[in-house]
């Protein structure tokens, strides 16, 4: 409604009783009533203005005063404006809260920095990674809390194109990759990711390459030395020449063994197709193993064989290489005259293959690392016994493929027992008629 129209209506509404009174009691009484009505109107407006002033000090939708007339319209408009504002503020708060929750749920550490590199806000991951304290640390210079000299230099030089790899301050030697992203004029966002695992794998890979090169180089150096000798001295005595050639042959064989083992290991690890499973005739496998062991031992060790369990479901070639490595280790690390016993029995309901010797034994601190590639208990000895350093790694992977586990029990000076423990589901009852031809081929 038009404001002027409404005013005119109200004035005429007030004027009608005044005119009526004036008509009956005279002009003076009419004027008095008009004055009284005007006074009342002024008082009521003054009261409402006062309410409005009070309300404006802390405006909320609940406490808005209620009134009629022109100010009532004002109040209604204010109410609408206030309601819209409260709604949009709630929406903003909710979306900010959602953003903080999302940043809080990130597995990576997030720290917001102001232009002076003071900490504005950080998420729980950053709190855990850097030992920050949400109660005390906002407003602190980030370099006062992350004090690594590398980090201080990184944040001060201002070139963040490359992430920074940084050791954590704690003694647990965690490694973090730190990225700084500028945002909103001169604020910065610091992202940190725990890359300890990746670093560890990287170190292992580097070590592996270094080890392989070293292992291949040693025989190669010997071969090159002898070859040079043979080339330089054509008039060499036949006997010396034969001796050299034999040594060359030995070293070439050693390299060949290493490459074979590496290939076996890589095949075991990166299997593309599912394992070719068949029923493996363990008793005949055992007799082959004993024959191999005896030829390696050249009569220096006594062998005992004991089998009471049935056949096994699995890959004949992998089992043969796993068991074969256990037997050849036993031969290598048992002094002459020792006894090596192979057992294939059912223990506590599961089939167990074990190789026990009464040789040197292994100190307990070496046991956990024994299946690592190129891990050597005694660096000097294994090279002369002809091991490649990969045998137990092969055993471990072959057994893993059969869901079996390797248990090592050893006493220094008294001998060792290596047990391959298979799940009972792989056991196959012996049927006297079954013989597996696959074995003979491998």
């Amino acid at each position: 409604m038009n404001l002027w129209m409404s005013l005119a209506l109200r004035l005429s509404l007030g004027a009608v009783p005044c005119l009526v009174v004036a008509a009956f009691f005279g002009a003076v009484a009419g004027l008095a009533l008009a004055t009284l009505l005007l006074l009342l109107a002024v008082i009521s407006h003054w009261r409402m203005l006062n309410q409005l002033r009070k309300w404006l000090q802390s405006p909320t939708t609940e406490t808005i005063p209620d009134a009629a007339g022109a100010l009532g319209q004002v109040f209604a408009d204010l109410y609408r404006a206030q309601r819209d504002q409260e709604r949009s503020r709630a929406r903003l708060a909710a979306s900010l809260e959602r953003f903080r929750e999302a940043a809080g749920a990130l597995p990576d550490g997030v720290v917001m920095l102001d232009p002076e590199n003071r900490i504005d806000w950080f998420n729980p991951a950053a709190q855990g990674q850097f030992g920050l304290d949400p109660e005390r640390d906002s407003g602190t210079l980030v370099t006062n809390l992350l004090r690594q000299p590398d980090f201080t230099a990184y944040i001060q030089q201002g070139d963040f194109s490359e992430p920074l790899l940084m050791r954590g301050a704690a003694a647990d030697s965690r490694v973090f990759s730190i990225v700084v992203i500028p945002f909103a004029v001169s604020n910065r966002l610091l992202l940190s990711r725990d890359v300890s695992q990746i670093e560890r794998v990287e170190t292992m890979r580097r070590d592996f390459v270094a080890n392989v090169s070293h292992e291949l180089r040693t025989p190669l150096t010997v071969i090159m030395g002898f070859l040079e000798h043979l080339v330089d001295d054509p008039a060499m005595e036949q006997q010396t020449r034969m001796h050299f050639l034999k040594l060359l042959h030995d070293q070439a064989q050693r390299m060949n063994r290493l490459v074979d083992d590496l290939l076996t290991l890589s095949k075991l690890e990166n299997r593309q197709q599912p394992m070719h499973e068949e029923i493996v005739d363990i008793p005949s496998l055992l007799s082959i193993l004993v024959a191999d062991g005896k030829s390696l031992s050249a009569g220096k060790h006594a062998f005992k064989v004991d089998f009471a369990a049935g056949n096994l479901l699995g890959s004949a070639s992998e089992l043969r290489s796993a068991f074969g490595n256990l037997v050849s280790n036993a031969v290598r690390y048992t002094p002459d005259g020792g006894t090596i016993s192979l057992r294939w029995i059912v223990e506590a309901g599961v089939p167990v293959f074990s190789v026990a010797d009464n040789g040197l034994g292994i100190a307990p601190e070496h046991l956990p690392r024994l299946t690592e590639r190129f891990y050597r208990v005694d660096k000097g000895r294994s090279a002369q016994t002809g091991g490649t350093g990969l045998g137990l790694a092969i055993v471990k992977h072959a057994l893993l493929n059969h869901q079996a586990r390797l248990e090592i029990d050893s006493t220094l000076g008294a001998g060792s027992t290596f047990k391959a423990i298979f799940p009972s589901t792989r056991m196959v009852a012996v049927e006297p008629t079954t013989t597996v031809s696959a074995l003979v081929k491998t």
Binding site: G131, D137, T143, R147, R167, A169, A170, A171, S173
Partner: protein, 239 residues
């Protein structure tokens, strides 16, 4: 926080803040130094030893230059109350930090000596790793307590120093049994005794820094008053 009140001169605030961050920079360097020294000792990494010894020069340089800053602030600004305590404490803290750096360099030199013998006859090095971990953690905590001006954390660190002393005595007994069993281990074991003594000394310096943090915040000198009273002072409400 009362200690970080605005001064009429904004520049004075900036100078105090700059002083604190230089102390932290020095602290960070010393932290890295000890970390490297212990890691290198446990792994026989001779390059690591050289690095630790080389870093010591930078620590020494920082000590001198922070001391110089303190003298300038006192001369020009005549600080009072909390500011004066802060400057005085910083002078003492950098001395302790520099000594900690010296201990790290000492560990590195001992390490060089042990590994040149090329044969570790004393195998129980993981005891030392445990001691080193405690020393590194205490140093980190005390520097954090200094940044946050947290007297409660500082009091906790003072108490922790007792554990370091106990560990040192325990490790010493263990090394003595090795030396008695096999006289060939004596020279290496003695070097290891010196290294663990250095770690124990680091604990003492960290304790001094912690006492200075309590002094800054509470205005009470808590040296030589016994642990229980120190904790009461640190936890008291009045500032």
């Amino acid at each position: 926080m009362a200690l970080m009140s605005d001064h009429v001169s904004k520049k004075f605030d900036a100078e105090l803040e700059g002083l604190r961050s230089r102390v932290m920079q020095m602290g960070g360097l010393v932290e890295t130094q000890i970390n490297h020294a212990i890691e290198a000792f446990l792994h026989g990494d001779t390059d690591g030893f050289d690095q630790v010894i080389a870093d010591d020069e930078q620590v020494n340089f920082l000590e001198v230059s922070i001391d110089d800053d303190c003298t300038h602030i006192i001369a020009r600004r005549q600080p009072t109350a909390g500011d004066l305590r802060m400057v005085m404490a910083v002078i003492k803290i950098v001395t302790d930090l520099e000594r900690i750096g010296d201990e790290a360099a000492k560990i590195a030199r001992m390490g060089n000596q042990v590994y040149q013998r090329d044969n570790l006859l004393v195998p129980r090095l993981h005891e030392m790793r445990a001691m080193g971990d405690v020393a590194v953690r205490m140093l980190r905590d005390v520097l954090d307590a200094f940044v946050r001006l947290d007297p409660v954390a500082a009091a906790r660190i003072v108490r922790e120093d007792e554990t370091v002393d106990d560990n040192f005595r325990g490790y010493l007994r263990l090394l003595i049994t090795y030396m008695m069993e096999d006289p060939r281990t004596i020279s290496t074991a003695l070097d290891i005794v010196f290294v663990s003594k250095a770690l124990e000394r680091i604990g003492d310096h960290v304790k001094n820094i912690a006492e200075n943090v309590i002094y800054i915040v509470k205005g009470k000198d808590v040296r030589h008053i016994g642990l229980d009273q120190l904790e009461r002072e640190a936890l008291s409400e009045n500032n």
